[in-house]
Structures are given as structure tokens and as C-alpha cells.
């Protein structure tokens, strides 16, 4: 049974690599408050030392670093380890994002980011990596069902005609929660835990609303299939056969 990270006994260890001292300290304080163990590195040199000394559960890596840039460091990390990486990009340009994902980052966040958003992303990435810990990070890139494709890194849903169907952050997390546990009844509480704290969902939209929005985009897209089934009194069931790509 997959459980959200809060139930994991040992608190996850996170390495923060950023050249701005204040951001490093503030981020460390924020993550510690939220139950993570934190180590800090200023640049590539310090990062290499830290990674050699300890096995981290996740690395938060700034793209703009003095010396070796974040992209090079990420590529370097990937050669030896499958530790999840969340990239902090400063530009928010599409190119940076895509390049970051191509060198093997598991997620990205553009500065200036909302700390709660980062927290949500960290939890989501940890949840995904603990789920399939045997697989290397790059193999967790996608899912497929009924002709639809989901690109986890680019956070994209593509319909059977190859057309991009836009999802909100919350809808995408909900989708991932379903894809990771297909053909099983998932309770509202479980789904809420998996999708909460997203920046767009500060209002804690009820899971029912989120499910109905996701349904509308998938089921009413003209394909006439039932994808998410409501199980009265228990929760929701994702019906299609899911493949991993």
C-alpha cells in the first residue's frame, strides 16, 4: 500500500543547493518546520562532497550556480545516482524547463516560487520515488491508458489524437495519484493528501470538484468512455488499464 510520505518513519533528508545564502537558510528553516532533515550546499563543489558523505532522499538544485551550472551538476548526478532532483529555474522560460527535464530532473519550479508549492512538489516527487524505488528515475517519465499519454516530467496529458489537454496543477496531481494506483478504490482522504498544498489549490478544493473537473476534460472530450468511477461511500476508482512508459 502506497502511503503519503508523512507516514514514513525516518524524516526524509533533503539537500539544498543554492548560491544565495539567505534563500538557503530560509528554505532550510521552512523545510525543517515541515518535518524534513536538511543539508546545505553553496555550489557544485560542496554538493559533490555532501552527496559523497550521505544518501539524500531528494536534492533541490538551483539552475543558476557559480562555476558548474545546475544543468551540468544534474547531468553529473544522474550518471551515478537516481536521487530525485527538483530544479529551481530563475528564468521561467520554456527552454530552461525542458532542458532541465531532459538532463534528468524530476520536477522544476520557477523562481520566485511559493514555498508551499515547493513543499507540495517535494512531497509528490518523494511519493513517486518511494513507490517505484527499484526503477531508475528516468523510467518514471510516463503513463498510458486507453490511447492517452501522460508525460510526468513535462506535466502533460496528451489525448489519443496527439492533442495536448491542459490540466491544472491539482488536476495533474490527482491524475498521477490515480495512475500510480489504477484499478483500486482510492478514498477521498487519500486523494486529498496526495493533491493538497498545491499553489492553485489554496482553497482546498474538495476532491469531488477536482475529480469532476478531471472527468470533464477526459471523459467529455468526445470519447465517450468512463474513466473515473464513483464508488458510493468509498471513493473513486480509475478504470482503464494503465501502462508505464
Amino acid at each position: 500500500m502506497l502511503l503519503p510520505t508523512s507516514s514514513v518513519e525516518r524524516s526524509p533528508r533533503i539537500l539544498i543547493v543554492d548560491d544565495d545564502g539567505q534563500i538557503r537558510q530560509l528554505l532550510a528553516g521552512f523545510l525543517r518546520e515541515n518535518g524534513f532533515g536538511v543539508a546545505l550546499a553553496r555550489d557544485g563543489v560542496e554538493m559533490r562532497q555532501a552527496v559523497l558523505a550521505e544518501n539524500f532522499d531528494l536534492i533541490v538544485l538551483d539552475l543558476m550556480l557559480p562555476g558548474a551550472g545546475g544543468l551540468d551538476l544534474c547531468r553529473e548526478l544522474r550518471r551515478t545516482s537516481s536521487v530525485p532532483v527538483i530544479m529551481l529555474t530563475a528564468k521561467g522560460d520554456d527552454t530552461d524547463r525542458i532542458v532541465g527535464l531532459e538532463v534528468g530532473a524530476d520536477d522544476y519550479l520557477a523562481k520566485p516560487f511559493n514555498p508551499r508549492e515547493l513543499l507540495a512538489r517535494i512531497k509528490a516527487v518523494l511519493r513517486r520515488s518511494s513507490g517505484g524505488s527499484a526503477e531508475p528515475a528516468l523510467a518514471r517519465q510516463g503513463f498510458g491508458f486507453d490511447g492517452w499519454r501522460v508525460d510526468v516530467l513535462r506535466r502533460e496529458l496528451i489525448n489519443p489524437d496527439g492533442v495536448l489537454v491542459d490540466l491544472s496543477g491539482g488536476e495533474f496531481e490527482l491524475m498521477l495519484a490515480f495512475l500510480e494506483s489504477p484499478n483500486r478504490i482510492l478514498s477521498r482522504d487519500w486523494l486529498l493528501e496526495a493533491t493538497r498544498n498545491r499553489a492553485g489549490d489554496v482553497f482546498d478544493r474538495s476532491i469531488d470538484v477536482l475529480v469532476s473537473r478531471l472527468r470533464r476534460k477526459i471523459e467529455q472530450g468526445g470519447y465517450g468512455i468512463e474513466v473515473i468511477k464513483t464508488v458510493r461511500g468509498a471513493g473513486y476508482l480509475f478504470m482503464p488499464k494503465v501502462t508505464r512508459a
Binding site: P112, V163, L164, E171
Partner: protein, 452 residues
């Protein structure tokens, strides 16, 4: 002056040059033809006077020698061509009258050329019996026995002129010169067209719009000066763009710090308030960077579902407590840049909600065009300001006086993005009040799924 020149199609340098050359060649041609004809006429008239004098002498001698009874017959036999001779007891010509100066001239010339004729009286004038005719001269010569020979001259005895050939050859020459002039002017003005193209490309933000520095020296100098000016303008724009982009970019680090600091604030309402201020600052930075980026984009065109894209924006607005509705077909696939389109349509929705309280979105597709109409219930935009609304940094404060944040780039960015998709935005005030924004863009669905 310019307007009528233009109306005649004479607004190009080529046409004006051709016109000037035509006028020039025409004037010179006519003047030389006139001078030539004048000289020709003089020669011809001398030649014809000589021949006239000879004929007159011959007729007079022949008629004198025969008996009076045969004189009329002889005179008749000697007639021919333009000359007709008769014998009579009295003269037929009368001197004086309207053409007398000319007759007197002719008489003087004849007397000079044939002194023998002066043995008797010579009267030149119009025919006494006939109406006056300027082409008809009647010369009466008195014979020694006081009788007269009357000679009618019907026209001047001039040889046929060769002026037709002259006109033809001159016209051919003129045509040749004009043809050559067209080629010459086109060749000379080609650098000007290159300049115009280059200036336009610079305006469109292209990096390379240099004019080749070749051709005559004047053109080379102009090209060099033009290239220098262009480089200066580009440097100026680039510097400012970079400065603005750098400031926008560097502000992201302090904003990130502030965001982290608000997390440790005990006062939750203060934290929320600061957080929303930070969001606003972030939005302004994003809009500035998007504006500076202009049409340059590294996002690829791809097939996307416009319905889902707008639906996400509408849901987000609804979650933020806005009153917004959306009616659309199940799907509408088209080729576009998802992030850019989200920004453009998001800006339009934000405007409608900021200024118009409520937003109603309607998406449809018709004849290969997707059409998104966004209606609001705000005050609209005064007709005079409708065009200005797309200019950067215009906030149209007078009518839309709410404190709204943002600084007037939303519409500019939206229009730039939609133009980049081959689409357009139109603003109109609704009769019922409120503004109606209509976005149209071509549906080029890669997979042909145009579902209504």
C-alpha cells in the same frame, strides 16, 4: 501637388523620371523639327519661284510669237500641273486686296529672276471673276500688243517633304531613350528599395538587416550611414531591453526570499496580505518579461485543445472567487503555443474580471476559425480609447479607474501572442453596456479533429 502626382500614378521615382524625360525629349524634338521645317520651306519656296519664273517666261514668249487667233490655243497647250494659262484682251488679275503684300513680294522675286518679263506690265492678285482664294494667285503678264496672258497658279510648286521619315526616326530614338531610362532608374533606385526593406526588418526586430555597401559612391555612403544608424538603434534598444530584463530577473531572488520570510510570520492575515502583494509584483515582472520578449519565442507550435486550456483558466478564476462562466464545444483542437496562449487568454480574462466584475466566455468554431468572445459588465472603453487600448502602458484610467494592479501590458502582450498565431483581437462596447473582447484564430488541427 503630391496628391495629384500620386493620382496619376507618378509617385514612383521611375515614373517621374520617365515623365520628365518624355517632356524633355518632346520639347527638343518639336523645336528641332520646327527649325528644320522652316529651313526646308525657305529652300522649297526659292526653288518654286525659279521654276515659276521660268514657266512664265516660256509661256509669255510662246504666246507672243503666234498670231492672236492661235494665242489662246497655245496658252492652253502650255498649261499643266498647277499652272493654267489663258490669253485675253484685258488683264484678269487685280492688284491690291487682302494678300497684296504677298503678291508684291512674289512680283519682286519674279522680276528679279526673269528680268525679261519686265518688258511689259505684271499684275499679280486675285482673280477678278472668282471669289478670293488664298491658294490661288493670278498673274497677268502684258504683251507688247497690250493684250494679256493670265496665268493661274493653284499651289506652290514645292517638292514633297521628307518630314514623315524624320518624325519616325526621332520617335524611335525617343522610345529607345525611355526604355533605357526605365532600366537605368530601376537600377539606380534598387538600393533605395533595399533600404526600405532593411528599415522595415529592423522595426520587426530582426537581428540582421544590413544593407550591402555597394554601387555608386553616393549609394555606398548612404548604405554605410544607414548601417551605422541601424547598429546604433539596435544597440540602444538592446541595452534598454537587457537592463529591464536584468532588473526584472534580479528582482526574483529578493521576492523568493520575501516569500520564504512570510512563511515564518506569526500573523497569518499579514502573511496572506504580503503574499498577495508579492504575487502582484511577480505578475508584473512576468508581464514585463513577456512584453520584452515580444514575438521572439522558443515555444513550439503543437496540437492543443483550446477548450481544456480555457477551462483551466476559468476554473482557476472561479477558485479565486470570481463570477465567471464558460460555454464551449466538447473539444476544439488547434495548433498553438500552450504557455503563450494561456498567458494571452489569461490576461484577457483578468482584464474582464478586474474592470467588468463578471466575465462570460463563449468559445466556438466556424469556417476554420476559432472564436472566443469574452463579455464583461464593466463600463466598457470610450470609443476614442478603443484603438489606444492596445498600446503598451495604457491603462485608460479615466474610464477604468479601479485600483487594479498591473500596468497596462496585458492587452499588448495578448495581441502580440495572438498575432503570432495568425489570430486577432477586437474590442467593442456592448449595446447593453460592458466590453466585448473577440479573439479569433485559425484552426489548423493537425489531426483534422474539428469537433463542434
Amino acid at each position: 501637388m503630391r496628391s495629384w502626382l500620386n493620382k496619376l500614378g507618378l509617385d514612383t521615382l521611375t515614373n517621374r523620371t520617365i515623365l520628365l524625360m518624355l517632356i524633355g525629349i518632346g520639347v527638343v524634338h518639336l523645336a528641332s523639327l520646327y527649325a528644320y521645317q522652316l529651313a526646308l520651306d525657305r529652300d522649297a519656296s526659292i526653288a518654286s519661284d525659279v521654276r515659276l519664273a521660268d514657266r512664265l517666261l516660256t509661256i509669255k514668249r510662246a504666246v507672243m510669237r503666234v498670231a492672236p487667233l492661235e494665242r489662246e490655243t497655245v496658252a492652253h497647250e502650255l498649261s499643266g500641273g498647277p499652272i493654267e494659262a489663258h490669253w485675253s484682251r484685258a488683264e484678269h488679275a487685280i492688284a491690291g486686296g487682302p494678300g497684296s503684300a504677298e503678291w508684291e513680294n512674289l512680283r519682286a522675286r519674279i522680276q528679279e529672276l526673269a528680268p525679261e518679263l519686265t518688258s511689259g506690265q505684271i499684275v499679280i492678285g486675285s482673280n477678278r471673276k472668282l471669289e478670293r482664294d488664298p491658294h490661288l494667285a493670278l498673274i497677268s503678264l502684258q504683251l507688247p500688243d497690250e493684250s494679256w496672258v493670265n496665268v493661274s497658279v493653284f499651289s506652290k510648286l514645292t517638292p514633297p517633304s521628307s518630314s514623315h521619315g524624320t518624325v519616325l526616326s526621332t520617335s524611335l530614338m525617343a522610345l529607345g531613350v525611355i526604355g533605357f531610362a526605365i532600366l537605368l532608374v530601376r537600377w539606380m533606385t534598387r538600393p533605395l528599395r533595399t533600404f526600405a526593406d532593411a528599415a522595415r526588418r529592423l522595426y520587426q526586430g530582426s537581428d540582421q538587416a544590413r544593407v550591402p555597401e555597394e554601387g555608386p559612391r553616393e549609394v555606398r555612403e548612404l548604405a554605410a550611414a544607414f548601417n551605422e544608424m541601424q547598429a546604433r538603434i539596435k544597440r540602444l534598444i538592446d541595452d534598454r531591453t537587457h537592463a529591464l530584463a536584468a532588473v526584472s530577473h534580479d528582482l526574483k531572488t529578493p521576492i523568493t526570499r520575501l516569500r520564504l520570510k512570510t512563511e515564518s510570520l506569526k500573523d497569518a492575515s499579514l502573511a496572506t496580505s504580503i503574499s498577495s502583494d508579492l504575487s502582484e509584483m511577480e505578475e508584473m515582472l512576468d508581464q514585463t518579461l513577456a512584453y520584452l520578449r515580444g514575438e521572439r519565442t522558443d515555444e513550439d507550435m503543437r496540437a492543443l485543445d483550446l477548450v481544456a486550456l480555457v477551462q483551466t483558466l476559468v476554473d482557476d478564476a472561479m477558485d479565486a472567487g470570481s463570477t465567471i462562466s464558460f460555454s464551449a464545444p466538447a473539444r476544439l483542437a488547434l495548433e498553438g503555443r500552450p504557455l503563450a496562449l494561456k498567458r494571452a487568454i489569461g490576461n484577457l480574462i483578468d482584464n474582464a474580471l478586474k474592470y467588468g466584475m463578471r466575465a462570460r466566455l463563449t468559445l466556438s468554431s466556424d469556417a476554420g476559425m476559432a472564436r472566443l468572445v469574452i463579455d464583461d459588465d464593466g463600463p466598457g472603453i470610450p470609443a476614442d480609447d478603443l484603438k489606444r487600448a492596445f498600446e503598451p502602458f495604457q491603462r485608460l484610467e479615466q474610464s477604468r479607474n479601479k485600483d487594479t494592479g498591473g500596468f497596462g501590458l496585458g492587452l499588448t502582450i495578448a495581441r502580440t501572442i495572438l498575432n503570432g498565431h495568425g489570430g486577432a483581437i477586437a474590442l467593442a462596447n456592448r449595446a447593453e453596456g460592458g466590453l466585448s473582447v473577440t479573439v479569433t484564430m485559425p484552426v489548423k488541427a493537425a489531426d483534422g479533429t474539428k469537433i463542434s
